[in-house]
């Protein structure tokens, strides 16, 4: 098992600004994801999170640097990397089954119709939509639509699952249920996942590692937070874990203040190629909590 299944190596992305100049969204970003790891990226709007994900999916290309998967630089979209879109992006003229089957028949063009349908039905059942196969997306609720999006992405058995704020458009209850299901499915299959989110609790519940981005433009990876919670976690119990508030406070503290100030007070030993890895631990915390709460392990 490679520790660097996915390796982001010095990627930079610039866009044309309205005034004719160039805006650098983020610059010289380095981080890696191991096989089977669930990594979340957190940062404020405008830090280029979605662009990082688009580069990983191959829909966008970096201006500098490279995103390397399994030893090969990403040059375009691939069926090895499935995307779950924030807006679910279902084809509205196809049924639930048709949407999932479309992905499967793209993945395995030589499969027979019955093989494709069987696979599609298996994954539709997996996300709890059995019985809704013949419905059109317009007949589904937001949560159900996103379930179809998840089924579509998982059905092609990708090496990597990329999720762009997949639950942000859903109500809290539905979001919770879907998080549980995504977590269960990803654990079952040992799926490598990269997910973008705004939601600190979502990241704590789902992720093994959390990449913190500073504010854009010219955003950078401030640090990589290791989740101190055990891999086996229960949504209703995690807040009792001694390290829960350590990591939660650390993340919120970052989003509230350090994401703004990080760039002006970069630590002397900061290396872009090896952003500091932090493992927040339960320890007496001063009030208000500051970034000293994190203990460096790298």
């Amino acid at each position: 098992m490679s520790a660097k299944f996915i390796s982001i190596e010095g990627i930079t992305r610039r866009f044309e600004a309205p005034d004719g100049g160039m805006t650098t969204v983020f610059e010289d970003i380095w981080f890696a994801i191991a096989r089977g790891e669930f990594v979340c990226m957190i940062g404020h709007s405008g830090c280029g999170k979605t662009t990082v994900l688009n580069i990983l999916s191959g829909l966008d290309l970096p201006d500098d640097g490279a995103a390397i998967v399994d030893g090969k630089a990403i040059e375009g979209p691939s069926l090895d990397r499935a995307v779950i879109f924030q807006s679910h992006a279902l084809l509205p003229w196809r049924t639930v089954l048709g949407n999932v089957a479309y992905a499967i028949s793209s993945r395995w063009p030589k499969w027979s119709r019955s093989q494709v349908e069987e696979q599609a039905k298996r994954f539709i059942e997996k996300v709890g939509l059995k019985g809704a196969e013949t419905k059109k997306p317009a007949q589904l609720s937001g949560g159900m639509k996103q379930r179809v999006g998840i089924a579509r992405a998982l059905s092609i058995e990708p090496k990597i699952l990329l999720m762009d704020e997949p639950f942000s458009a859903l109500d809290a209850l539905t979001r919770g249920t879907l998080q549980d299901e995504v977590r269960r499915i990803c654990l079952e299959t040992g799926q490598t996942v990269f997910m973008i989110t705004h939601d600190v609790d979502e990241a704590i519940y789902l992720a093994d590692k959390i990449v913190l981005m500073t504010n854009g433009p010219e955003a950078m990876v401030a640090e990589i937070v290791e989740n101190p919670l055990p891999k086996e976690r229960d949504r209703n119990q995690i807040h009792r874990h001694p390290a829960f508030y350590a990591i939660r406070n650390h993340l919120i503290d970052f989003l509230v203040s350090r994401s703004k100030t990080f760039k002006s007070e970069i630590p002397a030993d900061y290396d872009r190629r090896k952003p500091p890895v932090v493992l927040p631990q339960n320890q007496p915390q001063p009030l208000p909590p500051s970034h000293e709460a994190g203990r460096k392990v790298a």
């Binding site: 829909l59 995307v83 807006s87 992006a89 793209s106 997306p137 317009a138 092609i156």
Partner: protein
């Protein structure tokens, strides 16, 4: 319940309007009785209009009788200037469908190209903008001169007038396919041909069919005028021929028939539009 009662009430109002209009028409054209005393022989020569004060305009009953006679024998053929209204209609519909079909063959692929390529969209835009507002009949002399066949020329005129709405709508529909659907296809590594048929075509279909519906309406408007110009056969020629025959009943009958066929063509495409539309 409310729905049906509204429909029923609307039907009653429609029928009332029809009856009032028919009655007014009937009264308007019926004679006012003998206008002056004259020699019966002379009166025969002068005709009903002069003698009985009757209008030269036929009444609704005359038109109904005419329609009935056409319905009894729609497809008779007694020489070049005396064919049944069904035959004339068949000629016109045939020309429209042929010209319209050819326009589809050109407009849909070309519209796809324009919609997918911003370069072609810009490059072809001036031509389309200039050609689009030209009355299709202005093409007629050029068509007659180059094609040298009046019937094919009218098909060409139908072609040219059906082309623009289809072309513009196809290009617009294709260029405004939602980016996220295209991204889905890209992440699934769908090839360009399959993408065109499985994502772009279904996504653009409602817009394309709207263009086709506009086109068929225009084509049916234009065919009447074109056939009046080129003559020979067709419902347009029939109208003009009956005008030369001073058969106003036949002119009115054809107006009704032209409207009916136009409505059927429009409804057929409305049905297609419903079939390809999708709720979001």
């Amino acid at each position: 319940m409310r729905q049906t009662s509204l429909r029923l009430r609307a039907g009653i109002v429609s029928l009332t309007i029809l009856l009032v209009f028919g009655l007014a028409w009937h009264i308007g054209v019926s004679g006012s009785g003998p206008t002056q005393q004259m020699d019966p022989e002379y009166a025969k020569l002068m005709g009903q209009t002069a003698v009985q004060g009757k209008s030269a305009m036929p009444g609704p009953l005359d038109v109904l009788a005419k329609i009935w006679s056409h319905l009894k024998e729609p497809f008779y053929d007694r020489g070049p200037n005396d064919k049944g209204i069904g035959i004339q209609l068949a000629y016109s519909i045939g020309r429209v469908l042929l010209g319209y079909g050819l326009a589809m063959l050109v407009a849909l692929p070309l519209g796809f190209l324009i919609g997918m390529s911003p370069l072609m969209a810009r490059a072809l835009d001036p031509f389309i903008q200039i050609m689009k507002p030209v009355s299709p009949l202005a093409w007629m002399p050029l068509a007659l001169y180059t094609i040298k066949d009046s019937s094919i020329s009218s098909i060409f005129v139908i072609f040219i007038c059906s082309l623009w709405p289809m072309l513009i709508n196809t290009a617009f529909g294709v260029s405004s396919v939602r980016k996220e659907w295209l991204n889905v296809a890209r992440t699934l590594e769908v090839g360009p041909i399959r993408r065109a048929f499985t994502v772009i075509l279904p996504a653009a279909a409602p817009t394309i069919v709207t263009g086709m519906r506009i086109s068929i309406g225009i084509a049916w408007l234009v065919i009447v005028a074109a056939e009046m110009l080129v003559g020979g056969t067709g419902i347009g020629y029939f109208v003009w021929n009956e005008w030369n025959n001073l058969s106003i009943t036949n002119v009115i009958t054809s107006i009704l028939v032209i409207g009916l066929v136009g409505m059927i063509l429009d409804q057929a495409l409305a049905r297609v539009a419903r079939a390809v539309s999708f709720p979001e």
